[in-house]
Point group: C2
Chain length 338, copies 2
């Protein structure tokens, strides 16, 4: 990189001190109008901009927010990232992003990096492996270093930190209730992300809705597996053994898979089978049939989490953790047409 013009250079050119230049540029009231004008003009002329590394060293801050996402295999986290970016930019923060690929080991390495003083705050969604192993020590390290952390989306974890997400249990509860209100009762659940706390919450929502008023439902309606092939097999079996009427599907993969398997069996969506799934507005409407989905407003999640984090960074911590639970919404498309 070419060396840019510095405060010192400007000072020399203007025959004033570095302090004067600095103060002029930072709008200090100490400096005379005339000097300010001279300095600003020259700065403009030379396209001066302060060296952020130096500013940050002085300020003992980094101006960075670290964002840790578990994966990018669907657009959900990408959307959240979009929301985070909007809000971070507004507040003058840069985003340093990390992708853990659902790995605890990678997560630990990243933590190590960040705690070296790379960021003023952390936004994270805990990896699947971490949740499975319940190994959270590395996350608490941040608290030791007094680096504020806000968890987003995957907030059904046993960590007393600030959290921003949706009510996963209620979301699915509502979806099932909706289907039941339309007279459907043979409703299955399909899930390929069973290791996540939020999946457990969703499953609880399903169970709660299905057991009201105290009706038992067959175990086999609950189709949970990390392996797509396995999921397919179980799904086929259920469809062969029962006259199913609907499915709620807890993630991208299981949503697409369910739609596919149902159609392979020459069943019609929505005539024979209704589906409410987790996909997003970029895809859902263009699928055939289009799939009704639970909109989690990922942009909103990102923005809300970032706002909270920025507040934590700037204000002296009133160390009581906050949990923000945002509303979800069912978007009806082909697959729930009556």
């Amino acid at each position: 990189m070419r060396s840019k013009i510095t405060l010192k250079d400007l000072a020399k050119l203007l025959n004033v001190s570095v302090s004067t230049v600095s103060k002029s540029l930072n709008g200090s009231p100490e400096i005379s109008e005339n000097t300010v004008k001279r300095v600003k003009e020259l700065a403009e002329l030379h396209n001066y901009s302060p060296n952020l590394t130096a500013v940050n060293l002085k300020r003992k801050s980094t101006g960075n927010i670290a964002v840790i996402v578990p994966n990018i295999s669907n657009t959900f986290f990408a959307k959240v990232l979009g929301g985070i970016e909007n809000e971070a930019r507004k507040n003058g923060y840069q985003l340093i992003t990390y992708i853990t690929n659902e790995s605890l080991t990678v997560e630990k390495q990243i933590m190590e990096l960040i705690s070296n003083g790379l960021a003023d705050g952390v936004l994270m969604s805990v990896s699947a492996e971490t949740q499975k192993s319940k190994n959270y020590e590395h996350i608490y390290r941040f608290t030791e270093y007094e680096i504020p952390v806000v968890l987003f989306d995957r907030i059904n974890v046993d960590l007393s930190l600030d959290k921003v997400g949706v009510d996963d249990m209620q979301s699915i509860y509502n979806a099932v209730q909706y289907l039941k209100s339309k007279g459907l009762s043979k409703i299955g659940l399909v899930c390929s992300i069973g290791d996540l706390g939020l999946a457990q919450a969703r499953i609880d929502g399903y169970k709660a809705a299905m057991s009201e008023p105290s009706i038992a439902f067959p175990e086999e309606f609950l189709i949970v597996s990390n392996d797509p092939e396995n999921l397919k097999k179980q799904l086929s079996l259920v469809l062969e053994n029962n006259v199913m009427e609907a499915f709620v599907t807890l993630d991208y993969l299981s949503t697409l898979l369910t739609s596919r398997v149902v159609q392979e069996k020459a069943l019609n969506i929505p005539k024979d089978i209704k589906i409410i799934g987790y996909v997003n507005e970029d895809f859902a409407p263009f699928l055939w049939p289009s799939i009704s989905y639970i909109d989690q407003h990922p942009l909103n999640i990102g923005e809300t989490a970032t706002k909270l984090l920025v507040k934590r960074i700037k204000e002296p911590q009133p160390k009581e953790t906050v949990e923000k639970v945002l509303k979800t919404e069912i978007i009806h498309l082909d697959s729930t047409l009556l």
Copy 2:
């Protein structure tokens, strides 16, 4: 953030100078084995890690690579980002990410930020608006500042910079030739990203393949529009006026849309209509029917671009721009079954 232990602190505790501590930790051969050992032990004990802001200020580098992506509405760029992350981490760089949302204005703002010395190098994919307006001055600013830039994916732009992408023309040419080799001739093209240079290249590939051996094809086979509704309409018309046999579809949206419209018209994929599109391995196999696609190996694009950039950052510039064109591959699924 809590103030961490510094070199100075360690020096005081050990009764040696700051220089000695620094050298010991950085493996300088100047220092006695014994001292090195003492220093390292204490550093370990206190979990010392150097303040990167200070190190960077001293080194006049930032340790950051800026990544500028135009959108995240499909997983393509997310995948590329994954590749970039892998390679960047290997080389000790942090990633600062920006999303332009295809906006020239945002792109300019980001440039401004980065040229303030936020990053040692830039990986970027030019926004649609930028390409449409052919306004590239802000990009050349980087060259002025001697910040190396590598363009990725969207490399069909009139900029003499390092580039890493795929041969878009050849990719589609091959796809069309494949379809023709199976005896198909009524082959349409659907595209919702006409503003991009790479779309033009793909369209050229289509035209070249279709015109061999010098057969004219109807203009209406070429369906290009940024508006999904419009695309749908044109597509419907073509299907009504012709006995179409296949489509090549140039992006996510047009791929899903084509599959949907064809099925709405009660045509069977692949029996009546074959499709080769742009989707990726995370989705394509789970769609119904699954869609054959051109695999651009996005991870590879990301890694290759990052390797090139790191080289540019580290080595004195042999200022001849390099263009790396990576191979694509047709992945055959349901939609091209014969």
